[in-house]
């Protein structure tokens, strides 16, 4: 056994040395002209925009389809709609004029009816769309998915071929951002009905109205190609002829492929990301996803004490966690709402996290202060001198295990705390979080839409994801106001949300750990790889430097 281990260790060391040696001898040969080759971590599960739930499918849909709007940088720009619409009727009605020259790849025109059909199909409970909840707020959407109202009662109608009107039950302040989402893309009724259940399972069953057309994709394929769609209304702005996607699961294989000029953009993880940090082409995409620690107040009433929560937060060196333990492009975070996601309506250069950074200092790493707060907290709760044996629940991936061990070492700096690790498969972690079978749990949230409210609502009283059961009535009030009475006033709404985040930060209702980052190596021939706030690239902007 020892011999075997030695062999494995030697081989791994040899490979690592080789990989590093390879860095200096990377080939500068040109790849195929006018093609960008991109790595993906997984296959496309479906190309049916009503059924898609993951980022891989979302990117493929954004490449090949067009909705009302499209992100260009951080800004929402018109796509099939001819302008970014301002709501009327106290924020309840949106009337979208649509382009007359937009058409599907089978020659059919893209009309307002295609939106009406797709949206009604998504909220129809028979479609089984797991993202239908995103439609909540559009008139009757909730009742339709609850099977209490007919599908055609959805608040969307075609005023004429090229005018779409949407009526809301209540103002949705982030409605325009939402309209960039692939869940709201139109569908060609004729094609969907022709293929039935097979729609979206392979490229033959699809028609496209976006910048690219998917070619020869057959369900669980590891490779798919997208070629420029000449029928796209904005085809003149699409300069790259072909996108070639390739699923690569192993980070060192990805690195080898990149260095051999077989791929132009690869995602690195773990040690490979650490090795390549700082090298040419290395860049990090900040994802709209954060990891945080929830404390179960129902099981351990000690967590109801603010100083105890603050002590735990201050005992964790997040910079070390992100850079040394994870090293995959993630960055230390003192906020559960991600940075680079949403911006002050009156100052687009100011992001939500920078606006709340003062209160976030509560969680800053400081062992001395942590111990002081811990001591005071114990006195306040009458638990002085007591020993605490806490279970830390987390996933069972290699990264999660390393992370748990690190958190254990950090939290045990507080006197009297003993942390037992419990690393379980994802599904078990989720079910145990919901049933409250934990003391501390590492949780992650990935934005459904790029608005702070998507994170802030997680921690309101009674929210289904508030597994730690922290609650604060002022906080609830501010979050609710931002989504109701103040929904139509972007400035006041922004203030509501920053104030709510300040309360969460000061009270450490949950303990933020880090914002997920995706480490990339990108060939310098690739220009304008435009990464938007919703976590996808706008490939219309893509250029190749010749």
């Amino acid at each position: 056994m020892k011999f075997k281990r030695m062999l494995v260790a030697s081989a791994s060391a040899l490979v690592s040395l080789g990989v590093l040696a390879g860095c200096s001898s990377s080939k500068s040969a040109q790849g195929p002209k006018n093609t960008v080759r991109i790595m993906r971590k997984d296959v496309i599960a479906t190309m049916d925009s009503s059924l898609n739930t993951d980022i891989i499918g979302t990117q493929a849909l954004s490449d090949t389809m067009d909705g009302l709007y499209r992100y260009q940088g951080k800004t929402v720009k018109p796509a099939i709609a001819t302008k970014v619409v301002k709501p009327t009727n106290n924020g309840l009605t949106y009337t979208f004029p649509l382009r007359k020259n937009a058409k599907w790849s089978n020659g059919d025109p893209v009309t307002a009816n295609d939106f009406v059909y797709a949206w009604q199909r998504t909220v129809n409970p028979k479609t089984k769309s797991q993202y239908a909840y995103i439609y909540e707020g559009i008139a009757n959407a909730k009742e339709i998915t609850d099977n209490k109202k007919p599908v055609d009662s959805l608040g969307v109608k075609a005023l004429d071929k090229h005018t779409l009107q949407v009526t809301l039950d209540k103002p949705i302040p982030y409605f325009n951002q939402l309209m960039t989402s692939s869940t709201f893309f139109p569908q060609d009724q004729k094609v969907v009905e022709k293929w039935g259940k097979k729609y979206g399972t392979n490229s033959k069953t699809l028609v496209f109205n976006g910048p690219y057309k998917l070619q020869k994709w057959n369900g669980p394929d590891n490779t798919w190609n997208e070629v420029k769609n000449k029928d796209y209304w904005n085809a003149k702005d699409v300069k790259v002829k072909k996108l070639q996607y390739q699923v690569v699961k192993d980070a060192s294989t990805a690195l080898n492929l990149y260095q051999s000029n077989k791929l132009d953009d690869v995602i690195l993880t773990g040690d490979t990301a650490k090795q390549m940090k700082g090298s040419k082409g290395f860049n990090v995409k900040k994802m709209n996803s954060t990891f945080y620690l929830e404390m179960n107040q129902e099981k351990d009433p000690i967590f109801k004490n603010q100083k105890i929560r603050q002590a735990l937060a201050k005992s964790i060196d997040r910079t070390q966690l992100a850079n040394k333990i994870l090293g995959d492009g993630s960055s230390a975070s003192l906020s559960t709402t991600p940075s680079n996601m949403s911006y002050d309506p009156n100052n687009k250069s100011k992001d939500f996290v920078s606006d709340t950074k003062q209160s976030a200092k509560t969680a800053e790493y400081n062992t001395k202060e942590a111990q002081k707060l811990w001591k005071t907290g114990l006195t306040e709760t009458g638990q002085t001198g007591k020993k605490f044996n806490l279970t830390l629940l987390s996933d069972d991936t290699d990264a999660a295990k390393k992370q748990s061990e690190f958190l254990q070492s950090q939290l045990e700096k507080l006197p009297g705390i003993k942390v037992t690790l419990n690393n379980v498969p994802f599904k078990s972690r989720l079910s145990r979080s919901i049933s409250g079978d934990f003391d501390l749990v590492v949780t992650a949230w990935n934005a459904d839409f790029p608005d702070p409210s998507n994170f802030l609502t997680l921690f309101t009283n009674g929210a289904s994801n508030n597994n730690g059961h922290w609650n604060n009535s002022d906080y609830d009030n501010l979050v609710n106001k931002s989504l109701s009475t103040d929904a139509n006033d972007p400035t006041i709404r922004w203030k509501d949300m920053t104030q709510a985040q300040d309360i969460l930060n000061k009270q450490q209702g949950v303990i933020p750990l880090y914002q997920v980052g995706e480490a990339h190596l990108t060939n310098n021939k690739v220009k304008n790889l435009d990464y938007g706030p919703s976590g996808t690239y706008n490939m219309v902007s893509l250029r190749i430097h010749k």
Partner: protein, 311 residues
């Protein structure tokens, strides 16, 4: 022989039934549901989903329906790949796994037999030591480590073969070589041990006395008689390798079946879990049957039927 094969097929069907039943009930004990956004689904949506997938029925009814569908060759549709039939999913992913698996077995077993035979013939000299060393290394070094080394030196450094990706037959060579190392090492070990025994047998002495050359003795008598234990291990080894190696597939970015199985478990994709378990079991049993048939071909003293039937 025909009767024996029919009997074995009968046992295989029974075994498959037991495997399918046990897997079905164990699968239901897994935590969570196949719906990734369950808390976001409305009660009506959940109801429709449960109805459409038959998850609203008592487990025993679900079990009977599943068996009924299975008899019609219907493995259901995948949860993770919306509306993709499980059978077509398996078939799409099977081809690359089968190709690299079959190549690995052919390369591994033939080289292993050769290496074991050479070692036995040259017992206790440096050739034997070298062959033993190769076997030990082969057993000790996991296929994924070898895979990474092959990828790095042969593909990345020397540009002889593709680094990864699935673009034609050339892409299958390195993963096949990585996978071949285990059957090579194991076959070589078994072959050497058995051949050393056979070489000490009386009939080998007789063959020599009859004036056969060393080469004639080895080819006519020794090799064939030494193959029985080798064939014993080849059955299960082939089944394991043909069904794909998750890690090697990942290293070489091969769209194989191994990864699909793990993913289906992680996502509670019940129909895919069932389909792949049944497929793996079938593969394993077919290989055992082939092994038994090969026994009787190689050594006519081994009969697959009892004496009465054999006479």
């Amino acid at each position: 022989m025909t009767k024996y094969i029919l009997k074995r097929i009968g046992y295989m069907i029974l075994t498959l039934f037991i495997v399918a039943s046990v897997t079905f009930f164990m699968m239901k004990l897994m935590p969570g549901t196949p719906f990734s956004n369950q808390d976001k689904l409305s009660a009506a949506q959940l109801k429709i989903m449960n109805e459409q997938y038959g998850l609203n029925k008592p487990i025993w009814q679900q079990y009977l329906i599943y068996l009924g569908n299975l008899l019609h060759g219907d493995f259901g549709t995948s949860f993770q790949f919306n509306n993709q039939p499980v059978l077509s999913l398996i078939m799409t992913r099977l081809k690359p796994s089968m190709l690299i698996g079959a190549q690995a077995m052919i390369i591994g077993s033939l080289l292993g037999i050769l290496l074991g035979a050479v070692a036995a013939i040259n017992k206790n000299n440096w050739i034997d030591s070298l062959a033993t060393f190769v076997s030990i290394v082969g057993i000790s070094v996991p296929s994924f480590v070898l895979g990474v080394l092959l990828q790095f030196f042969i593909a990345f450094k020397w540009h002889i073969l593709p680094i990864a990706l699935w673009n034609g037959w050339q892409s299958s060579i390195l993963p096949s070589l990585a996978l071949a190392v285990s059957p090579l090492a194991q076959t070589a070990r078994f072959m050497r041990t058995e051949m050393v025994d056979v070489l000490n047998s009386d009939y080998i002495e007789l063959s020599k006395a009859k004036g056969n050359t060393r080469w004639q003795t080895v080819v006519k008598h020794t090799l064939r008689n030494s193959l029985i234990p080798v064939i014993t291990i080849l059955g299960p080894l082939t089944a394991n390798i043909l069904t794909g190696s998750l890690v090697v597939e990942n290293i070489f970015s091969i769209p194989g079946i191994g990864e699909q199985f793990v993913k289906s478990i992680m996502t509670n994709d019940y129909p895919t879990i069932m389909g792949l378990t049944i497929f793996y079991s079938l593969m394993f049993m077919v290989m055992l049957l082939i092994t038994d048939i090969l026994y009787s071909i190689i050594d006519p003293r081994i009969r697959l039927t009892n004496n009465k039937e054999g006479n």
